[in-house]
């Protein structure tokens, strides 16, 4: 290679490496802050700030959802399926994909008694897409609202 080009290539390589290192260090320093939510184990260990607006994320524990028959209030347990649980209370409309065994991200405040008061609940889905018949075989079920939607879809052709 022409020495002049070699020199320019080295320069470009240094430019890129320098930027990559700088960005890498910045992201490393920000690491915790880039996470969208606190997982249940961090909340259980007391690493999440109390009485501040934060997000908590995890799975809705099977059999933990209790709906208030007279209002939109709902309580459920947020779990990492590894023994760390956070009780959540919420009043409002839940996304269609909300259901037991599904991932969610809730925005709200952690109270001193360890309960998370959510003001917004978002559903988190995974990258496993499945037709309904296969899902049934795999023992995975859709939440009630969504299943009703699929049933009408099937009936409609």
């Amino acid at each position: 290679m022409h020495p002049k080009r070699k020199q320019r290539l080295t320069l470009v390589a240094f430019l890129f490496a320098g930027v990559a290192v700088a960005v890498g260090l910045a992201l490393f320093a920000l690491n915790e802050n880039i996470n969208l939510f606190y997982p249940p184990d961090q909340i259980a260990r007391g690493e999440a700030p109390v009485d501040q607006r934060i997000r908590a994320g995890g799975m809705v524990l099977e059999g933990s959802v209790q709906r208030d028959p007279g209002s939109l209030a709902v309580r459920f347990t947020l779990s990492d399926m590894a023994g760390h649980d956070v009780p959540v209370v919420y009043e409002g409309i839940l996304p269609d994909l909300f259901g037991e065994g599904q991932g969610i991200v809730a925005t709200g405040r952690l109270r001193a008694n360890g309960t998370f008061e959510a003001s917004e609940v978002l559903a988190k889905h995974d990258e496993n897409y499945m037709p309904p018949e296969l899902a049934e075989l795999a023992g995975r079920k859709a939440p009630e609202g969504q299943r009703a939607g699929l049933a009408t879809l099937d009936a409609g052709g």
Partner: protein, 255 residues
């Protein structure tokens, strides 16, 4: 390290915008044809034949636009970063032309990925937008594209503008692995990657084959539009040369 002779020859030919213009002309109808057929087949299969998702129902079908757009947005940026290196090191005119032509196309794919993602997010996540690592790094990619487009407009001397854009394109390459691995490195609302190089996709073939067709169709149409757009830049920048003037006269007499 010895580079094979045909590659060296190709490399030298790429130095000539005229060679590029004349060589790529017969490729265009093929690329357009492949693109339309593949994308048409992928879209029809994906929207009409593929089964609905057990959880998301029909809203999952937006994957057939969202994933290809997001893949192309990143591929286009990698192309531009490569052109940036070639321009800075070898001073190849054609690299600068591709850099100019590809920027608006890449910006469009990025915008398409963000918009379809928002439309998908509303019925599934329950929100149009989340400031998680994947969505935010994708937004930064859009700003990089817009920055490169703006930088070229802002600088009067074409040569200086080309080099400035090349530097910005190379610097922005850092963002590409961040987008790719954001869903693995951090906790995000966005789900992990649909296609991985080393694993089978986590869905049945009736769902991923149309997605693959759609991705290939997007690639063909992307290459087609970058070539078309680059050819326009070639004509514009080389307009004072004899071959462009001959070409223009020929086209004029045909019309």
């Amino acid at each position: 390290m010895k580079v094979p002779a045909p590659l060296v020859r190709l490399w030298h030919r790429l130095g000539s915008p005229r060679w590029f213009f004349e060589t790529t002309a017969p490729w265009l109808p093929w690329l357009l044809g492949f693109g339309v057929v593949l994308l048409g087949a992928g879209a029809f299969w994906g929207l009409a034949l593929a089964p609905a998702d057990y959880l998301q129902g029909n809203s999952f079908r937006i994957i057939y636009v969202h994933v290809p757009a997001a893949i192309l947005a990143q591929s286009c940026y990698m192309l531009m970063g490569t052109c940036g290196v070639v321009l800075l090191v070898w001073r190849m005119k054609l690299a600068d032309m591709v850099l100019e032509a590809a920027a608006p196309i890449g910006a469009s794919f990025t915008a398409l990925a963000l918009v379809t993602g928002a439309v998908w997010g509303k019925p599934t996540w329950g929100t149009w937008w989340a400031w998680d690592a994947r969505v935010t790094s994708m937004l930064i990619l859009l700003f990089l594209y817009l920055g490169i487009i703006g930088l070229r407009q802002a600088l009067a001397r074409p040569e200086a503008a080309g080099r400035a854009c090349a530097i910005l394109a190379i610097v922005g390459l850092v963002n590409i692995p961040i987008i790719k691995y954001s869903v693995d490195w951090w906790l995000t609302l966005h789900q992990p990657s649909t296609f991985k190089l080393t694993e089978k996709p986590a869905m049945p073939p009736s769902m991923w084959i149309p997605l693959l067709l759609s991705v290939l169709g997007f690639y063909a149409l992307f290459i087609w539009s970058v070539l078309q757009s680059t050819r326009v830049v070639v004509l514009e920048r080389e307009r004072r040369t004899a071959w462009v003037q001959n070409f223009a006269a020929e086209q004029g007499s045909k019309a």
